[in-house]
Amino acid sequence: MAFLNHKTNEIQLKIVYYGPGRSGKTTNLRYIYENFSERLNSKMITINTEGERTIFFDYFPFDIGEIAGYKVKVQLYTVPGQMKYKSTRRLVLNGIDGVVFVANAVKSERRRNILSLRDLQKNLRHYQKNIFQIPFVFQYNKLDLTKKGIPLLSPALLERDLNRQLMRPAYVASAIEGRNVAATLKTIISMTSQSVTANLN
């Protein structure tokens, strides 16, 4: 359940970008920050990075105005994708309201996508959350790599591997080019706020 402050009439929606290492989670947030930060009037915070890789998490909070009498604050987080940062990933999921699963469409990453999704399911269970019930959007990232001749997994195969049972909205995307980054974000915010307001009602 989202954090609700009755005194200030404020709801905080926590949305986490999850996925295997190097799938483009931070790139998603960076694109949003670089293109919409003026409108959103906010700053992105990246905590502890090792070169280009996130080893703690990224954090990007912003307001989306008032809904049903409540000020809605959205907090975007990413998790470190590498297998070794298991405990940090679990920690970041605490109090989660919605998930964007960023899958890497590069062919060699097929197994890691599946393992990461299983890891997410396990970590959500730890917080008594059901992967089938939480607002959830898939993003099949790195489509731009076809231009470089890198073999990619087809969207149909990605759907079959990851989304066959979950049946969630899915976007093919290129976070580095900004393709479908905002669409993914809009969908997850919309789904999460609907779910939270339904709970409030």
């Binding site: 066959r164 049972q165 909205p169 479908n180 905002a182 669409a183 974000l185 919309s190 307001t197």
Partner: protein, 227 residues
């Protein structure tokens, strides 16, 4: 009223998100994927059931049980579908344990339970009573199967008990054979189990006799008091 409010809220959120993340100047292509893809949640289960019917192997059974796990989570709020999935799970575990020795009726249970789940999920208008009836029917079949298994198991034990006595008789028929193999381990086990069996029967007889005697005494005492 609540529904209208929810729709209004949704529209308001979407309008605001469109404003905040307007990409019209960036030529973004919105490609929402998935409309053309077959999103029947039972497709995978169906193909795995067909695979099991064709050949029982570790990989398929593991995939089958994982698939059931996923579906159980998906239908955690629908008790009837959830329970039907449990029948499929128990049946799968039985096959995993018994392998080629699995009773052939189990495949009928698998197919029938799957068809019941499919009927419930695909028919959105199905009433709760119809769903319940379907479940009761499947549960009945599954229980019948379990009883059949238990009977077969008991029959197996009976044969094990009778077998030594028969062998023992045959030993008497051929005393020379028994003399030839005095240290035959099987023969030893047979004698011991038979002896245990007879001792157990005698114990039970004694217990019944003593119980009847004490009951008789109690009845006599009651009769005297009444007089």
């Amino acid at each position: 009223m609540l529904v209208n409010k929810a729709v209004n809220n949704k529209n308001e959120i979407d309008r605001r998100l469109d404003e905040l993340f307007d990409e019209s100047s960036q030529h973004a292509v919105l490609e929402k994927f998935g409309d053309s893809f077959d999103k029947d949640p039972l497709v995978e289960l169906k193909s795995l059931l067909l695979s099991i019917d064709w050949e029982i192997n570790d990989k398929v059974l593991a995939e089958y049980l994982t698939c059931i796990d996923g579906l159980k989570e998906l239908y955690a709020n629908d008790k009837i579908v959830f329970n039907l999935l449990q029948i499929l799970e128990f049946s799968g575990r039985y096959i995993q344990k018994s392998r080629i020795k699995a009773h052939p009726n189990i495949f009928g249970i698998l197919n029938s339970s799957f068809l019941a789940i499919e009927a419930i999920i695909l028919n959105k208008k199905i009433s709760y009573i119809d769903k319940q009836n379907l479940f009761k029917m499947e549960l009945g079949k599954y229980r019948k199967f379990r009883t059949l298994l238990a009977k077969n198991k008991n029959a197996g034990i009976e044969t094990k008990i009778h077998k030594p006595i028969a062998t023992d008789n045959s030993k008497n028929d051929h005393p020379e054979k028994a003399a030839k193999f005095p240290n035959n381990p099987t023969a030893g086990t047979i004698n011991i189990s038979e002896q245990h069996f007879i001792e157990a029967i005698n114990d039970i007889k004694q217990l019944i006799i003593s119980e009847i005697n004490s009951l008789r005494k109690e009845i006599k005492c009651h009769e005297k008091h009444e007089i």
